[in-house]
Symmetry: C2
Subunit: 399 residues, 2 copies
């Protein structure tokens, strides 16, 4: 019975959070140049010195959040590392004229790559926003608001600077990619956590993003597609048929959180039924366990070579989603799905010896890549999920 395991879940997850944070504290800090090494092998060895800005920003955010919310992590070394990380990005990654941030840097901070998207900028905004919660310094709050306003301007008014001045080619169709409004909802939640008056300031952004995310609910609510047309219809081709079950489930808990703030029962039901439960059932591999990474809604082979792999972050986000759904509904079916995910992750992904999770598994659950950090995996999905699940479990157990 899943309910009888609540204490066990809490204990395992608490220990795992401590191990995971220890891993990053021990191996990732670059004392010489600042910032964090994020390409770390199975036991913490640096196998590539490049610094990826999504991951640098997320680690700053994570450290500040841990410092703010969990007593055991309220340590000067954690705060100091977050502050130094932000200094590294401010100095090296951000263009003060355009507010664009790079995607990757050399160890000593020279830009390697810039993306024509909003993600480096959004994660950086989250980082400085959470740092304001910790330090109360006005500069971080000012920076967060200035960045968020810029991002909103790029998304909703003029994307020229975000696209580095390059126009889209004539054959590129306009697309509502779910990642963009999801990201705005996530940053908005962070801004509200920093300062509750932000809800009012950005109310319109919240409603717009919500509508944009819900437009991905297609075929009478039976599927969540990654890409839809700006008018809310399906797009042709492989991109139009693409689903990422773990991403839809992550969107589900963003919506569930939003529904809670607005006390919106209809949205709560849509989030749980259509984004979380149905997409879990759709995406779960009944043969080997784990969520498929990509699927094509009409059953064609996805064109992404990694489609059948099992990735840590989809499981992290699903753990949060089902535990939050259980917390908000007391529906035992939600806890049972969490149990399924917990058992999968703690037998396949978790490294109890070295800390952190093995991120990339083959379809059958065997290890495909053994590293703990890479160009797309840093100090974020694992500790965020463990922290949130620990907090939710503590709340449930208290009652």
């Amino acid at each position: 019975m899943a309910e009888e395991r609540l204490e066990e879940f809490f204990k395992e997850i608490s220990e795992d959070l401590q191990r995971t944070v220890n891993f990053w504290l021990k191996y990732s800090h670059d004392e010489e140049f600042g910032g964090f090494f994020n390409c770390l092998g199975p036991s913490g060895n640096v196998y590539d010195e490049a610094k990826h800005v999504w991951l640098q920003s997320r680690q700053i955010w994570m450290y500040a959040r841990l410092y703010n919310e969990e007593e055991q992590f309220r340590k000067p070394e954690i705060l100091q590392a977050a502050v130094r990380g932000a200094e590294f990005l401010q100095k090296n990654a951000k263009d003060p004229k355009t507010s664009k941030l790079c995607f990757s840097l050399t160890r000593d901070g020279r830009p390697i790559k810039i993306q024509r998207s909003i993600f480096s900028e959004c994660f950086y905004t989250m980082a400085v926003s959470e740092l304001h919660r910790t330090t109360k310094e006005a500069k971080y709050k000012d920076e967060a608001i200035e960045m968020f306003d810029k991002i909103i301007y790029w998304v909703r008014e003029d994307s020229t600077d975000m696209r580095l001045g390059l126009s889209p080619l004539p054959g590129v169709s306009a697309v509502n990619s779910m990642a963009v409004p999801m990201m705005l909802l996530c940053v908005l939640d962070q801004m509200e956590t920093m300062d509750s008056s932000m809800s009012e300031k950005y109310a319109d952004v919240g409603e717009w993003s919500l509508k944009q995310v819900l437009a991905h609910r297609q075929r009478e609510g039976t599927i969540i597609l990654e890409n839809v047309s700006p008018a809310g219809g399906e797009l042709p081709g492989s991109a139009g048929r693409l689903t990422v079950p773990g991403h839809a489930i992550e969107a589900g808990w963003f919506l569930l959180q939003y529904a809670g703030k607005k006390n919106d029962k209809k949205l709560k039901k849509t989030a749980i039924d259509d984004f979380i439960v149905r997409m879990f059932e759709y995406g779960w591999d009944t043969e080997h366990g784990g969520l498929f990474y990509f699927l094509d809604i009409d059953g064609y082979s996805p064109v992404q070579l990694e489609w059948n792999m099992k990735l840590w972050w989809t499981h992290n986000e699903s753990m949060i989603a089902f535990l939050m759904a259980y917390q908000k509904t007391k529906d035992l079916k939600m806890l049972e799905k969490f149990e399924t995910l917990f058992d999968y992750c703690y037998s396949k992904h978790v490294d109890k010896e070295n800390g952190e999770w093995t991120g990339y598994l083959n379809r059958d659950g065997s290890v495909c890549m053994d590293f703990k950090g890479g160009p797309w995996k840093g100090c974020f999905h694992v500790p965020r999920a463990l922290l949130m699940c620990k907090q939710i479990l503590r709340d449930i157990l208290k009652k």
Copy 2:
């Protein structure tokens, strides 16, 4: 005994070539807008209408080559399709001012994406060059020479236009990526096939490209790395440790061909020993068969998620390499490796019912993606390998 199977190899490969060409003739032609559908499902269904320019150009080249070199394919419909394909690209994909070609187009020819590299342009050059052999029309030869001169200028003198005017960022290290000089050797061979006087015109390009490819032979000749420094040393990080065994083996037969033209015995030995045989032994999966796609020379997990997959083209290129090595040395060990590859491919990749090959297999050889054509797989590696192997086997059997 591999030698006793020569007739069988010839027969199977001849039938497979016919099936494969039939597949593309039957399903890929877009009679309405011109060009070719290249995203084709297992039995030829169009699952995405985008047209990828590498593949469009390669199909034109392949059709013209088949028309020129194999009696059974000397058919007006094949020539006409090649000519119409070139018209489609000239009209839609090429910028007449800069000579840049797009990477992908919509079905009706509107540009979706442009790469800052030379590959679309190189495959297009090969296509028009081979069309000159077929049609004898001066315009194709002029176009091929003009394009090749432009490409050489980009690679060796000024890459600004190739990079669409964008400068590399300050953290990007200069790199000798093996794909570039390999591509130049391949286009050069095509130009010589079109007109033998090209050997003299481009002699310097040949020698330069040869030197650039050989610089990838590292650690006393024991390994072929994908990326080295311009000075010929190893680069740091994952990119510096990357090997693609099937790509090194393909480079091997390019070098073997070059050595034959120059009657260079030392180069012949290097090509066979270091690029072909050693990289095959390094890259072959002794547990499940097939060549790993990517490996890290120091044994770290490669960062490419598809590293352990088995891809059709690496096996196609290896079939050519070992059969050519056997033809040129009469060393039975080469034929035995060819036999190993033949048996792997004809049990895993080949689709005798529908024609063409299933391109993307999981590590264990099971099908990962069932399509015959996709954004990176078109009418090229399979028919080129089958045509070349058929021609080599015919030559061997004649003697």
